[in-house]
């Protein structure tokens, strides 16, 4: 189980790094193309779609790194048992949203089968797919966060960035 989690997180981390690097490269090549006269009209579209996928993959990583802000006014005043209960409630609401967005994302992805991207002309379902994938990854991270922080639900982040 631990190994599966480690592999899952390594894959999401690697994809996030690759997508971010791709975004930078696509925009820089777009600028270079404008001044060096090699036309790369699709760089804007590629970079924007990379941003969508980067957010999709990275949102779970952001949650793990504590890069998603939340108020701790209530939790600070509670004992451990009440904190655990509150963390379950928060995770429950968060999972509810992920479920709703996953469902909406699947419908959106199906509708994307009939739409083409403006420049590159590939099916928009490849881009809309980012929504259900994102909510799936976030769902997994929400559950893992709940388990990993059971003894200190509102303490330090599960994984600090060096």
């Amino acid at each position: 189980m631990t190994r599966a989690i480690r592999v899952f997180r390594s894959v999401t981390d690697a994809l996030l790094i690759a997508l971010f690097a791709f975004m930078v490269a696509a925009v820089v090549f777009g600028v270079a193309g404008r001044y060096l006269h090699f036309k790369i009209s699709y760089s804007v579209e590629l970079a924007t779609y990379a941003q969508i996928w980067m957010t999709a993959i990275g949102a779970g990583v952001a949650l793990r790194f504590g890069a998603m802000f939340a108020l701790d006014t209530l939790s600070r005043h509670l004992g451990l048992a009440a904190q655990r209960l509150l963390s379950v409630v928060i995770a429950g609401f968060s999972l509810l949203l992920m479920g709703v967005m996953f469902y909406g994302g699947v419908i959106l992805t199906e509708s994307g089968l009939r739409q083409m991207s403006p420049v590159l002309q590939f099916r928009m379902s490849w881009i809309f797919l980012a929504v259900p994938v994102s909510t799936f990854i976030l769902g997994v991270e929400i559950v893992l966060r709940l388990i990993e922080r059971w003894n200190d639900p509102f303490g330090g982040d599960a994984e600090e960035v060096a």
Binding site: M68, T73, F93
Partner: protein
């Protein structure tokens, strides 16, 4: 409208991440009305499908590369030779370094981290008051969000369809107005502080020249970003992407401080924080769409028109509201949630949206040092290894200074509009 508001505050107060709160509050409304569920996913996607927003991610990455690549250190060294001869020299160095870094980085958090890491250990060694020093660095670090390139100015421009260049020019004078005030407060503190605050070194033109030459490659980052944007050669997003490449080249091959093996970790960290912000943007777009559908902006405008008679009273009301709301609320969320409402209403009062947008962002900047949740306050306290409450005790004079500048830029609009006007961005 009521269910949207109740849902929003309920989820915020129990501690659901703000990025999820927008979506959950929207879900409550969707369940109570006939709006199809797919609209949440669709509006979320629409929010992220934006090329300009990418500038935020690139500026965050550039800030981290400046720290790891030694660019921030060269600028701090230059600031040391420039003002190291003044009483309370390290405090003055922090202010000057933060101002120069602000012109290259769009992230207050990254600048605060860089300056805190570089100066706080030495401040501790010299027996400076570390709590005051941390509070001062936290305040100086916020300049990155008002002096261009600022990620908050990008976000408010995207959210309200304003010109990024106009806002960047509008942020320069307000940012620079803060600097002399900070230097005075630092000097006054140092004068009372005794021998610990004696100048580090005598002024030397030769040494200043050498450190300036060493800092030139780092300072070139400002030319890449601001030169690109204001010359029209590149958009804000493109300039930000070029800045990433430039920072890597200078950090690795000019200064030699950046190891290529560190790049994946830096990209991962910046990517995670960017994704957190982008998810917030996506959720806010859903929420704002529902607010517009429910007629919230129109209702607020109508209420304001009936209650607040003059533009100046409106601005006062906005400032008070944002200062109070800014204490518990994250700044990016505040821009996404409230700026469309306030900027729409401001136009009805005949106010210039560029002016109001810069004033709005200045409020967000103050929120970054406002207890109990000020973002840069947390970072400097963390680096100083001091309790946040101890650092917060010293924030009030600095907070008062920022509020004074806020009042100045609110009621003397030319302080914001002069530069955009001479550049032809506003009438």
């Amino acid at each position: 409208m009521i269910s949207l508001g109740i849902g929003f505050f309920f989820f915020i107060l129990i501690g659901v991440p703000v990025a999820f709160v927008f979506g959950l509050a929207a879900f409550v409304v969707v369940v109570m009305t006939d709006v199809p569920l797919v609209i949440i996913a669709h509006q979320f996607f629409t929010g992220l499908n934006n090329f300009t927003l990418m500038a935020i991610s690139f500026f965050l990455l550039t800030g981290m590369l400046m720290e790891k690549g030694g660019l921030a250190r060269r600028i701090t060294d230059f600031a040391m030779d420039l003002v190291g001869w003044i009483t309370g020299s390290l405090l003055q160095v922090a202010i000057v370094a933060a101002t120069i870094l602000a012109a290259m980085s769009g992230s207050g958090s990254a600048d605060t981290a860089a300056i805190s890491s570089a100066l706080l250990p030495e401040m501790k060694r010299r027996r400076y008051n570390v709590d005051f020093s941390a509070a001062l660095i936290a305040t100086a670090g916020t300049l990155a969000q008002i002096i261009p390139p600022s990620t908050m100015l990008v976000l408010i421009a995207v959210t309200n369809n304003l010109s990024i260049s106009a806002l960047y020019l509008g942020g320069i004078i307000p940012g620079l107005l803060v600097v002399p005030g900070l230097m005075y407060l630092a000097w006054r503190h140092a004068k009372k502080g005794g021998p610990a605050y004696a100048p580090i070194e005598r002024f030397s033109l030769g040494r200043l020249g050498v450190s300036f030459l060493r800092a030139i490659p780092a300072l070139g980052l400002g030319v890449v970003i601001l030169g690109g944007i204001f010359s029209g050669l590149a958009t804000a997003t493109e300039s930000a992407a070029l800045a990433v490449v430039y920072a890597i080249i200078v950090g690795r091959w000019v200064y030699g401080d950046l190891k290529l093996a560190e790049l994946p970790r830096i990209f991962l960290k910046a990517g995670a924080f960017s994704a957190g912000i982008m998810f917030l943007v996506g959720g806010a777009i859903v929420f704002n769409w529902l607010m517009a559908t429910e007629g919230v902006p129109d209702a607020v405008s109508a209420w304001l028109a009936a209650t607040v008679s003059s533009p100046w009273s409106f601005l006062l009301l906005m400032n008070v509201f944002l200062m109070v709301f800014g204490m518990p609320m994250e700044s990016f969320a505040m821009i996404l949630l409230l700026s469309p409402i306030f900027l729409d209403a401001a136009v009805d009062y005949g106010l210039n949206p560029v002016h109001v947008a810069v004033v709005f962002v200045f409020n967000c900047v103050i929120a970054m040092i406002s207890p109990p949740f000020g973002g840069t306050l947390f970072i400097s306290a963390l680096v100083a290894q001091r309790p946040i409450s101890a650092v917060t005790r010293h924030i009030y004079p600095l907070w008062a200074l920022m509020t004074l500048v806020l009042l100045l830029i609110t009621y003397i609009p030319d302080l914001v509009l002069y530069l955009p006007r001479i550049a032809g961005f506003v009438q």
